[in-house]
Symmetry: C2
Subunit: 311 residues, 2 copies
Amino acid sequence: MIITVTLNSALDVTYRVPSLIPHATHRVTEAVERPGGKGVNVARVLAALGHRTTVTGFAGGPAGDELRRRLATVPDAHRITDALVPVAGLTRRTVGVVDAATGDTTMFNEPGPTVGPSEWTAFLAVYRELLADPGTEAVALCGSLPPGLPVGAYAELVREARGAGVYALLDTSGEPLRRGLAARPDLIKPNAAELTGLTGFSEPARAAHDARRRGARGVAASLGADGMLAVTEEGGWRALPPGRLAGNPTGAGDSAVAGLLSGQVEGLPWPRRLARAVALSAATVLAPAAGEYDRAGYEELLPKVEVVPAG
Amino acid sequence: MIITVTLNSALDVTYRVPSLIPHATHRVTEAVERPGGKGVNVARVLAALGHRTTVTGFAGGPAGDELRRRLATVPDAHRITDALVPVAGLTRRTVGVVDAATGDTTMFNEPGPTVGPSEWTAFLAVYRELLADPGTEAVALCGSLPPGLPVGAYAELVREARGAGVYALLDTSGEPLRRGLAARPDLIKPNAAELTGLTGFSEPARAAHDARRRGARGVAASLGADGMLAVTEEGGWRALPPGRLAGNPTGAGDSAVAGLLSGQVEGLPWPRRLARAVALSAATVLAPAAGEYDRAGYEELLPKVEVVPAG
C-alpha cells in the first residue's frame, strides 16, 4: 500500500469560456469539479496503475465535503482509501479557466484552511498509524503547506517515515523543501525551477548533485518537454519523451510521482521507473481533462521513451 | 411585504488577486462568498431600508445550500424570509476576480441548474401562495432564466401578480423581457443596452416611450453615470447623481430596483422614488464589497440627487 499526503488538498474546478478577456463578463460554457491537490492526483494515477493507496491530509468545509464525495466515485475508487483528517477551516478551491480559443489555462488558487496545532496533532496520529501498517511500502508527501503549519512539517513527516522503514518521496518547493531535505528523504521530484530555487544552479545535473549533497538520497527532476533526469545512489539517467506534445500540463508532475513510486514498490530498475514516469507525464499532457492521463496514449508512449545514462 | 423572485440565484464569490495576468497562475489573497443573484441583492437592500421581504426562486446543490446558510446571517436577516424552492440541479457560482492593481473585475458566471417542469410547478404553487398573502404589496422579478424554463416564464409571473392585485416590477433582458412586456408589468428597469436591445432605439427617452407602447406601464431606465430616466403614467423625470463616482458597479441596478419598490410601497411621489433609487445605486458603487451599499454614503448623496421633469 502507498500513502499519499496532501496537506493542502483542493477541489479543482475547471471553467471553459469561449475566450478570456480581462475585465469582461464571461459565460462559463462548462464547469467541471474534481478532487485535487497534488497527493490526490498521485493517488488517482497509482490506483489506475493497480496500486492500493490511502489518501491523507486535511479536508474541511463545503469544498472538502465535495472533494471526499467525489473521491469516492472516481475510476478505480475501490483501490483508494480516504483517510483525510477533518479540519475546521475551509478546503480551498482552485479555479482553472480554459480559453477555448487558445487552449491556455489561467489559474486562481484559494489559499487553503489555516490548520491549528490540535489538528496537526490529530493528523500525525493518523499518519503514524498508517506508517505502522505492515502493508505500507511508500509515502508521497506532496504540495504546498496550508497556513498555520510549521515550515518544518515535511521534515517531521520524512523523519517519521524513515523511522518506520517506509520509502519517502518529497514533492514540494521553497522553504518546506529545503527543510525537508535535512530529514534525508529517499527521493525528491523537483521541476527545473524548484531545483534551481533550492540549489542556485540552473544546469540540472549540477543542481541535482547539489541537492543530494543537501540531503536528498535521490533526485528525479522533471524538465518539462526535456523529460526527466535522475541522480541516485545507483547511478544517473536521463529519459526523453518521443517529441513535443501539445496539451494541458496540469498534473503531469503528479503522474511522474506516481510512475516513480509504483516503480519503486514493484522493484523496477531505475531506467524502467524513469520511462514509466515520463510516459505517464506525457499521457497526462495528452488527456483532455487536467490531472487525468490518457491510458491508450500511455501504453503507446511507454516503449518510445529513450533512457540514457547521464548525470 | 415585498416578494423578490430570483429564478437563477447564485453564490457570488469574489477573488482578490494582486494583478490579473491571462494564462498565469494566481494566488488568491482573499476569497469572499455572499448570497447572490439579482433578486437576492434587491431583498438585502430592501431589508436594510426596513422592509420585510420574502426571497423565492430556486436553490440546489452545495452552492445552493451555502447561499441559504449565508442568507440567514446577512445584516437585517430578520426581515428576510427564505422561501426558495429546492431544485435537483446545482445552483451556480459566479466568480468575480478583482485585480487589486487596477480595481477592475473579471466575471465568470456558471450557467445555473436546469429546472424541470415539476420544479417549475412547485415554484408556481409557492409563488401563488405568497401573492395571496394579504400583506404582499409588490414583487420584483429579477435576472436571467435558468436553463429549462419556458422563455415566457416572466410573462406568466407578471400575469399572476396582476391577477392578485400585486404591483409587479420586471428586471430582465432579451427575449424573457420582450415576452414579459405582453403581460403588462407595472414597471420595468432596463439599463441603456437592454432598452436599446428591446426597442431598437438608442435615445433613452424615445426607447422608453416605445417600451411603454410594447406593454410596460412604466419604465425606469438606469443610465449608469447619467442617473435614471422614468417614463410613467404620471409623467416623466430624470434623476442625476452628484458627479461621477469611482468604484464597483456590481449590484447598482439591484439597489435601484430596491429604491423604486420601497418608494412604491411607501407611496412616495415619483421624483422621490427616483432620487432614492439613484442615491442607493451610487452608494452601491461606493461600497467596497460588490452588491452592498454604503449606508453613510446613501444618506449623504440622497439630498444631492437632482430630479427634473423629462421624457
